[in-house]
Symmetry: C2
Amino acid sequence: MPNQDRSGLSRRAWLAAAAGTAATGLAMTRLDALKATGPQEEAVQPQDPTRVPGRFVSEVGRRAPGEQPRRLLRTLALSSSSRTPLQELQGTITPSDLHFERHHAGVPEIAQEEHELLVHGMVERPTVFRMADLRRYPQVSRICFIECSGNGGGAYSRGRMPVSITPQQLDGLLSTSEWTGVMLSTILREVGVRPGASWILAEGRDAAVMARSVPLDKAMGDAMLAYGQNGEAIRPEQGYPVRLLLPGWEGNAMVKWLRRIEVTDRPTMTRDETSRYTDPLKDGTARQFSFVMDAKSIITFPSYPYVLPERGWWEIEGLAWTGRGRITRVEVSVDGGRTWADAVLQPPVLSKSTVRFRHLWNWHGRETIILSRATDETGYVQPTVHQLWDARGERTAYHHNHQRAWKVAADGVVTFGLGDLV
Amino acid sequence: MPNQDRSGLSRRAWLAAAAGTAATGLAMTRLDALKATGPQEEAVQPQDPTRVPGRFVSEVGRRAPGEQPRRLLRTLALSSSSRTPLQELQGTITPSDLHFERHHAGVPEIAQEEHELLVHGMVERPTVFRMADLRRYPQVSRICFIECSGNGGGAYSRGRMPVSITPQQLDGLLSTSEWTGVMLSTILREVGVRPGASWILAEGRDAAVMARSVPLDKAMGDAMLAYGQNGEAIRPEQGYPVRLLLPGWEGNAMVKWLRRIEVTDRPTMTRDETSRYTDPLKDGTARQFSFVMDAKSIITFPSYPYVLPERGWWEIEGLAWTGRGRITRVEVSVDGGRTWADAVLQPPVLSKSTVRFRHLWNWHGRETIILSRATDETGYVQPTVHQLWDARGERTAYHHNHQRAWKVAADGVVTFGLGDLV
């Protein structure tokens, strides 16, 4: 993104600021700001690396000592989650060992040679598939996001808006991977779906035995049985040896450790679909089977706990995604939502995957609130929290895709800013 | 890829074969075949995972016990490499800890806070950049491959064609990642390149102090300073904290642990460019500065050491890539090169990145040789080894992008098959 595309950008001033940082070493930089509240840095390497033979080749690589991103754990008895450190990441791919977790009875240990997937119900030929069988069918790959339907719940309560919350804590139940597997439609065509079928039930093999009903349209659409993640076998935390993948839909419907698919003519109304995963609305009714993840975006820098050391040019960046296809636009406001400008989207913009957006901002050094707002290919615009409250009431527990805001104080300290706007 | 697109495909027969495998447990499957020569499987999990609480959430995930892909090490004193296990991977992304290594004096340990990049020479404003400075400039991300120019050398000698060689051993100096960083052109515009400049010298900070000359056109084109790999900080083995990235060009020119860029008006003719990385030709001259990686493809399944347990439908798959932009076509031959058919390319097909190709094949159960042949957007077609011998002689040490071949024997044993075709 060449600088000359930005009207008014003073390159010399910008470089001078950067050089000033380099020269004085006094100003806290973006990286310093992060580390101030993060793990302590290792002592500076005293040896000249050009005079010391380096580390030998290795069978499995490892991160630099000073780079140790971590998931954030949250538990309630056995029902637990771990969140991706969004504010520490760049690009779109989530490192596989940092992909978020969400399960109700821990991660089962399953050996792929003995795992079986039963496909039965309203089918011509009920069949048990082993992993070797699934892998023999035509393979497909797709980069897409998975998001938990409960993501973002920490910033929905009018009276309890957080201030010191990281993107990880707020929205860390979101990750992106390149998934490989077989189209579920291929398998369903093999077993032969009987006329009149309209749903499937997907069931997992963990101690929670998660079971979810999924409309047959989706199952015959872009649904996948995924056994590969970022080039290798799917991770146990993400469902090894095989999970259901429903691009753009709620994470919980993408049953992990998949052991059974039953083709039915109605939703099964399992425990997981009635006691959980239904959205209570204002009028007392509940929104059920709200499968699609609505368009959403979040600025990951600057965010809490970063500190901007000085005014001047900073690149705002974040992630945007939608379960309805492609993000077509992300707008950024640097004045609390009064005015908006288009951010740059990093190509390729893929359907039902995260896109990285970036926006050059000349910070005047005074307190302000910055926001982002995504639009997807259906024309859907990421709503404000007020709009969501109006539409769904203030008690809904899922699909909190409203606009997020960060307050940048005059001293450069960044905190979550939605509380100031409601 | 719905089965009905394949004329003559008997779905019932195919499924019956798969079901037969499941029922008898006697036939070796693709996975079994791989494991037969790989690490021993853990004992089958005896406990029913639905009756035992699973593993707790974790800060950093880990692979399933039965999935332990490894790089393959090769050393010559300190000059060493480690190769990506291509035959075990799927999709296109290379897990970061399995990205190939190639260096001449080990992996240096560098703390990013004290690392500096000097940009000087024919510039208006010589500048020292720290990592915090580089990160402040507009960021970009790009998925692309890196390939060592010496990759594939093991299958070029007429009299010494290998037989029992894996894709990892043959072509494992190839990996693909999502890279994040700043355009080198942004940095060069900041320092102001002086008229008359036409090259840059890039120098690394490891004990080998690798130095390479790169034409200014490339430096001002799509060259990047990359500090991010698959969503997080670039790995030490790949150049932490920052490397030069030249999409589509020879890996060695993409200097790792980058510490200096000198803008010049001629190539510097460093030790690394004269004693190494020049291609001797038939007529005694040498090809120098052969930067671009030519279009290439390799079938990764079936390959050595896989064993096909039975005749019938198998999906041939592999990787194709080119330094000249996009792959437009991959053809597969299942009869030793007599006839060819188009394989399916997995979208999105990205410029200067790897693309996964797949081709459904009904194996008749008799011995045969399978090959793949890539074509890129310039019209360049991956040559046969005969064509390369004619063009460059048989002693050239780099850019071995000729067509690869695998022999499938009647008993399903797969070996490298080029020796049979030359």
